[in-house]
């Protein structure tokens, strides 16, 4: 039986979020939350593996108390157990502090896991770092943005596309994968299932003290990075106007923006000399 942990995050449903001008961190409890879309794909991948080869799924999250909602949603979708890591001291954590805290919680509350699944990135901070850093903290292998998973004895066979290479990889277990969106399409949550999940007794919630962690190890204090400014990049478009004969315009376009366009379409557009 495959013992799995799915790490998930509650993200704000709106994009115009208020932030704390003093600490420069987002005031997450001011917005409606939802399960981060990529985390849904990670949960779906875990559910698929469970159906295929049997397994047990622990859904865990770190966040403010309201993030409990996504754990209940995970139960409704088929997770067996939940773990909530929540403590005001953990606020403002960067990926270094987050992965450190998650690792300690896993070591204490689900030490005998085989596989950790994370979404490939969140829709809010978009770093895609917590998965690989959690694996590093636990000293286990990791593979990012996987598209297909297949259990083969003690190893996991994985397909993914990395920098335009279609790769088939085999990873020792225990290990960690981050799941690409676009595969493992999430199933629907039934209203009845959600209703039952919210009637379940309280979810196991642990704080810094339960993990034996001091204030300086978690949250903003345990972070290496600081946000010094947040701003909206709107209306930054230069609106450059090109006029003239088509051939001249096209050459000018490709000469002036060869790096910009070239990197976006992943082709070299430098003029052949």
């Amino acid at each position: 039986m495959l013992k799995m942990i799915v790490c998930m995050k509650q993200v704000p449903m709106v994009s115009d979020l208020p932030w704390d001008p003093v600490t420069g961190t987002l005031t997450r409890d001011a917005a409606e939350g939802m399960m981060n879309p990529a985390c849904k794909h990670a949960l779906e991948a875990a559910l698929m593996l469970k159906e295929l080869c049997g397994g047990h799924i622990t859904a865990m999250t770190m966040g403010p108390p309201m993030a409990e909602e996504i754990l209940r949603e995970a139960i409704a979708l088929g997770a067996d157990r939940c773990l909530m890591v929540s403590d005001p001291k953990m606020a403002g954590a960067d990926t270094l502090a987050t992965s450190f805290t998650l690792a300690r919680a896993i070591e204490i509350f689900c030490p005998d896991f085989d596989l950790i699944l994370c979404g490939c990135h969140t829709s809010d901070s978009e770093t895609a770092q917590v998965g690989p850093q959690l694996a590093e903290e636990l000293d286990i292998p990791s593979i990012a943005a996987v598209e297909d998973l297949d259990l083969r004895g003690d190893a996991l066979r994985i397909k993914r596309v990395s920098d335009n290479f279609l790769e088939t990889l085999e990873m020792d277990l225990p290990g960690l994968v981050t799941v690409a969106t676009g595969f493992f399409n999430p199933r629907y949550t039934s209203m009845a299932g959600l209703h039952d999940a919210f009637r379940e007794p309280g979810i196991l919630t642990v704080g810094a003290r339960d993990l034996g962690l001091g204030e300086d190890a978690v949250g903003l204090q345990g972070s290496a990075t600081r946000i010094v400014d947040i701003f909206s990049p709107v209306a930054k478009k230069e609106n450059i106007v090109l006029k003239g004969a088509p051939k001249k315009i096209v050459e000018e376009l490709l000469d002036r923006f060869d790096d910009t366009i070239g990197s976006l379409i992943r082709k070299d557009l430098k003029a052949v000399k």
Partner: protein
């Protein structure tokens, strides 16, 4: 002793042409940043038979290149590359490390930063030095709706992954000279816990319009069904998908599933080529998450032209065929 001089490192990511370009762009930016803090620019190159890249990085501004050339490094490996990088970082102590935000860079760098217990900012779209000499890293959040400026005040090195195409590479200078530091492959590197079974270059893959990174969108300004068809050829050359406005779908120049608009399909390409689209709100609401926009229209006052990064005032059909021809000439594979 140069070893005591502050240094900015660029991770030499060269696995394919596109990744190598990011490395060159970062060398260019590192050169600017190095002037501000009195540092020297270094590159690292890991792999097998990598002389070509070492020479190229020196020609693009690296004063020193740390090279580990060994058959055991033939394939990119996160486990091995992190272990190797950790050793030389601890030995030489760079102030800053820049890595391209390629698939590999985004997988390798988080583990490296964690191993070194330092900060990392992902997918930067800007890098600068503040008055205190800290690296100011500008990174997008919330789908690019917000930008954040991030610093790593105390931990070293300061590490950032940088989005391709943000910086312009400097022309190569083959008169440039640099020091090559050969790093022997340590005998006690960890075993790789991930095994590569197979790897093949992806030529193209079917992609959904909603998720396509490159979209070519056409409107009535394309003039006719025949001319509209050229957009499919342009999309093929660009490796993208074709989208259409409602009038075009009504006129049966394009299929219903190409329709882009408020109540239809929302797209969020990194680059959008918009041909002969006037920019009615029903359409523009579906493209508000597009990145770099190039619009072509005879009418310079069309709404679509006003929201473009580059507005081309010309006949959409003519620009389309010219662009196809010029792209085919330039794109090497």
């Amino acid at each position: 002793m140069a070893q005591n001089m502050r240094s900015i490192w660029v991770f030499g990511d060269y696995r394919n042409y596109f990744q190598n370009r990011v490395t060159l762009q970062l060398l260019s930016r590192a050169t600017d940043l190095a002037k501000k803090i009195g540092a020297e620019v270094c590159a690292t190159v890991f792999g097998h038979e990598v002389d070509e890249w070492v020479g190229e990085y020196i020609a693009h501004g690296a004063a020193r290149v740390y090279v580990c050339d060994n058959p055991g490094l033939k394939f990119y490996s996160t486990d091995i590359y992190v272990a190797l990088m950790e050793r030389i970082v601890r030995q030489y102590g760079p102030e800053i490390i820049l890595v391209g935000a390629t698939s590999f860079g985004r997988e390798f760098t988080p583990r490296l930063a964690k191993r070194l217990k330092t900060g990392l900012t992902a997918d930067c779209v800007g890098l600068d030095i503040d008055d205190a000499g800290l690296l100011v890293q500008t990174a997008p959040a919330f789908g690019g709706n917000l930008l954040t400026k991030i610093v790593t005040p105390e931990k070293r090195p300061q590490i950032a992954t940088v989005r391709p195409g943000v910086f312009q590479e400097i022309p190569h200078n083959y008169q440039a000279t640099g020091e090559i530091v050969n790093v022997p492959l340590p005998g006690d590197l960890p075993r790789d816990r991930v095994r590569l079974i197979s790897s093949e270059r992806q030529v193209s893959r079917e992609q959904k319009l909603g998720e396509a990174p490159v979209v070519v969108c056409g409107g009535r300004g394309m003039g006719s069904k025949t001319r509209f068809k050229n957009l499919f050829e342009l999309a093929r050359v660009l490796g993208g998908e074709v989208g259409a406005t409602r009038p075009v779908v009504y006129a049966k120049w394009a299929d219903e599933d190409a329709l882009v608009g408020q109540a239809d399909r929302h797209i969020s390409p990194k680059v959008l080529f918009s041909f002969g689209v006037s920019g009615a709100i029903q359409h523009t609401a579906g493209i508000k998450n597009a990145g770099f926009i190039i619009a072509v229209n005879k009418n310079p006052n069309a709404a679509m032209m006003k929201m473009a990064d580059v507005a081309i005032v010309a006949d959409a059909g003519q620009v389309c065929t010219t662009l196809i021809r010029e792209l085919k000439k330039r794109i090497r594979t």
